[in-house]
Symmetry: D2
Subunit: 337 residues, 4 copies
């Protein structure tokens, strides 16, 4: 960590800071420049109290040097981790494709989609049974009945089931039916939920919060890893920016950047990442070209009458067509779909 002292910081303030740094178990190196004195603190700076040094007298700023996460870091594990859950495998040569409706609405709806996405080449079925909804007046999901339908769809198609869990108390229940527990963007920093998923033996798909930094996302993953569950996938689903022509802004540079920083596989969600059906196929292809380990896509047999997210869902035929294009792009970057 680097402590930059204010111009005109007194010797007493500098001595005080040296002492503070040493109390934290770090070694203080004092570098006196013409305009500023800088104190470089060497050692493991991931200790309580480091950021607080900013309140010490004469301090201008404190700049961390080390990443705040450990288990999630690329340094902790050099190769990309392969996460496997039933028919789904991400992190290897094959690009995982999770597809299905935003909400499970009925047996007929789910079976239709499940068969269609399976036929088109999806490697997992997504579908929401517990739905976090912005408005209390919106459809809140079929809950356990939805989970049962998902399990039935797995029996029928062989596709692994990815579904969201929204509360710590539900982790065991959802884990009975699902292959992958999805933590939604709004829950990325729901620490009790992260801890509960850390205790689960199910793989976890962790979505980035719409205003989370990459460090915050990796620290959320760290909660799960530190809890004992190594099977974590990270999912970029778009961030909140001033852009209003898309529901969120999808920053695909997250893919190569995360691949430098972490060994966890990286998934892209072009449905939430754009919010408009017509933009999804281009972003799915771009995600694969950028090196994503997987994509997760909303598909519905009749988006116009979907109970949620119809505006960003593909019809089954649109998904099939997109998959044909994705397959070609994957080959161009030496991957398969």
């Amino acid at each position: 960590m680097i402590v930059v002292m204010r111009s005109g910081a007194t010797d007493q303030e500098i001595d005080h800071m040296i002492q503070q740094v040493e109390e934290l178990g770090l070694k203080a190196n004092v570098l006196r420049g013409t305009e500023r004195t800088v104190i470089a603190a060497i050692g493991d700076e991931r200790v309580n109290g480091v950021q607080t040094l900013e309140s010490s007298p004469g301090v201008e700023s404190v700049m961390p040097v080390l990443a705040p996460y450990k288990l999630a870091s690329r340094e902790a594990h050099d190769a990309t981790s392969v996460v496997t859950a039933g028919s789904l495998s991400v992190g290897g040569k094959q690009v995982g494709v999770m597809a299905g409706p935003c909400s499970v609405e009925s047996e007929e709806q789910l079976m239709t989609v499940a068969k269609a996405v399976k036929a088109a080449g999806a490697t997992a079925l997504r579908g929401g049974a517990f739905k976090p909804r912005t408005s209390p007046y919106s459809f809140q999901g079929m809950k356990e009945d939805g989970l049962k339908l998902l399990a039935a769809a797995r029996d029928e198609t062989g596709l692994a089931v990815v579904t969201e869990v929204i509360a710590p108390d539900d982790v065991d229940l959802v884990g009975e039916y699902a292959d992958v527990l999805q933590i939604g963007a709004r829950n990325m920093q729901n620490y009790r939920l992260l801890e509960a998923c850390g205790r689960s033996h199910r793989a976890v798909l962790l979505k980035r919060g719409p205003s989370a930094t990459i460090d915050e996302m990796l620290l959320a993953a760290e909660y799960i890893l530190d809890g004992g569950n190594p099977n974590v996938m990270l999912c970029e689903r778009g961030i909140r920016t001033f852009e209003a022509h898309t529901r969120f802004t999808l920053p695909l540079a997250t893919v190569p950047y995360l691949q430098q920083k972490t060994h966890l596989p990286v998934i892209i969600d072009p449905s939430h990442g754009t919010g408009h059906t017509s933009l999804v196929p281009a972003m799915a292809k771009a995600a694969i070209a950028a090196g994503a380990d997987g994509i997760i896509v909303e598909v519905h047999p009749d988006p116009e009458h979907a109970m949620s997210d119809g505006y960003q869902s593909l019809r089954c035929e649109q998904f099939e067509e997109m998959m044909q294009q994705c397959r070609r792009v994957a080959e161009a970057v030496d991957r398969t779909v």
Copy 2:
């Protein structure tokens, strides 16, 4: 709701949309312009299926007309609601002042701050016992022991206690000790927690998520109100923007804007809203001048050794000085502190 059809939308697509609108129980008014046909749907548009119309053929965009929340709206309740909890009252002429440490750390620390902020004029004591922390390696709070210290500080000073609750299962426990349940920014869309607080008889301080829109914040409040708890205060604590010189960007225009849209009282958090001690007093004064119904401020006897948020905490003397200034500003806008 207004449905804008694409240039060149066919009569069949327009007829289909009219039918869709009528199926939702709304009346369709078709307005044919030179470049676009627009269908104005009159009626209560807060029904499932409205947004999904965007997926219908020939549709360019769907623009809602009505606000999506009801109970929280200014129209539902013309006067500003006064929320009272022990010594704290917000929404009336007096500006509520909640002050105290980020985390409860010890009896001595808490009592020192409680007495100091009481003497300086605070009307409630804030302090965290359950702490949501970005890193699993950070101090996670004293939990129930912290709650007990808070209750003891209330006994000593008479100040109402404001403290955060981070999980639905904890609502009853926290409610036993606290006068006000704080829902933190990261939990603004933790719907189970909102529902649990809706069932509580304690007042709730709901913080805006750092990337939440005002509609999303009011819908989060709607969950609590709809659950039966009318005592909700809204708190602006800063949003995520490209600005890096402050930890968050504090948009004080939220104050007059919310006051137009909702009857719920509006609180400003200049500590999280800036992230730097030296910027807090100016923003506290500005908040009061802008018409805020209350402020919530972090105060610590020794910020340099605080276990969290030291960089944005005021020392007790700094808080006292700030309160003297705030009192003058409050008088200038016909309020009291």
Copy 3:
């Protein structure tokens, strides 16, 4: 345009608004709902005075229906425009590739890069002679001497020259040497410069400002088109968001979105869009997969000693390798590079 009246707007206010709308030459349709009255104004709303209606008594909001630009719109010109300038052609099957150094620094530097990017398959040479620099203390470019070197490099390699123009007075001078005038992100709303480029016979590469909306970018293009110059390319180069791990956030959904709204070809700049050499190739591939009509990339023989933007420049060998990958991705989406 849709005028939403406030709840409780009086008949007098509604009548006044009808009159205002009619004064603008539009036809007013009054729709009285249960909670709001809405006035739909039909006609060409691109007239002075429309936005100002928001100040009329009883008005809650004014929502435009029509896009504010005309000449740039897809409706004005159904097929994608092909812009050709010397060896460069964008908007057709071939993906244009503009590559070269951020700044022209010397004859040797420029010739080395020009030959290398030509050999690797670039279709135009980029290089800055007039440099807009954030700091007055930074290298400001070789100016006309740089332009001469660019022209010499064109003579040597046959590559069209793309170079930035930063002031209206320079447009003629730069146009003497360059094939394409680049308007930088900071000048996207320098209207005098746009007007001057509108009078030029050179093609224009218009970069999106880092906080410009798509409508603002298309209106900037409209200035050039309206001035009589139809040869405009639009370039997405990243926006300012809260993300700090990249210099800007590159929203590739701009590509399919713009292709729906405008007939002008769309170029992606993965160098400025990421700000880090190591992220450029992935984003170049992703851009092509997303359907971009061209890319513009910074290449330098010795980035470590570049006078500007070294941190985001590719070495010549890196560019060559990237081009091989881009070629494969282009084929996968039925394009060529």
Copy 4:
């Protein structure tokens, strides 16, 4: 400057970096930690080539320590600079108030406003003659005729004139009529314009670009100061964020933050900063409470028929009422209006 080497950087890479740092005339201090080696470069890091070190082999990141601006810094000039131009003085005890219409539209309109704002206590008259407009189809201003009307209004009222200049070639002309040259937000990084204003003897009001960082704004000011013109005022007018309920987000913490970093006076524009008439008075009061040295406000005798910005203009009576409130708030913070 601090160079953080990658984990696993070789001795050769570290030696190479030491050499690079020394070539820049800086002293290299090598600090070997357990996980990273850090090289602290001491000396004046504001030299070409510093940022480019990021491209050297084995480098993870480069963190500057010194602010990139010099003349604008608080260290260069300890007291706040007082900028005086005719009747306007900002930077002292009195809060400067610049008020008037967005655009000069006619003699009658301008004289009405000028007399009204003078009577209400404004210390300068603002009004646009050269208008930078997003759309080529919008009213572009009265140009020199508008300047003449402004000068006539000054003769009549004694108020100093603040008006925008949008091109370097116009600086002399505008300077003949105006007391203060305003550089608009869209031109904050129009370096030719900054240079031309640096050569002028008129005071300059420099508006922050909607996505400019504070460093970028101070470097823009540095262009003017470095050109020989010391009379620069900085103006915060709102930034682009995800918030859509205001046209821009007005971050008032800019006021105390700038006052720590620079000696230049700080002005707030609550009109552009909110974009809605009804939010302007609250933000004007908040700005003064936060310590602003001045405010600039749009006032129009008939906003409903204004040729630009009517939706954010105050009527003359509203301005007068606001001034009475501002006067009280100013007194509460020991200032005058």
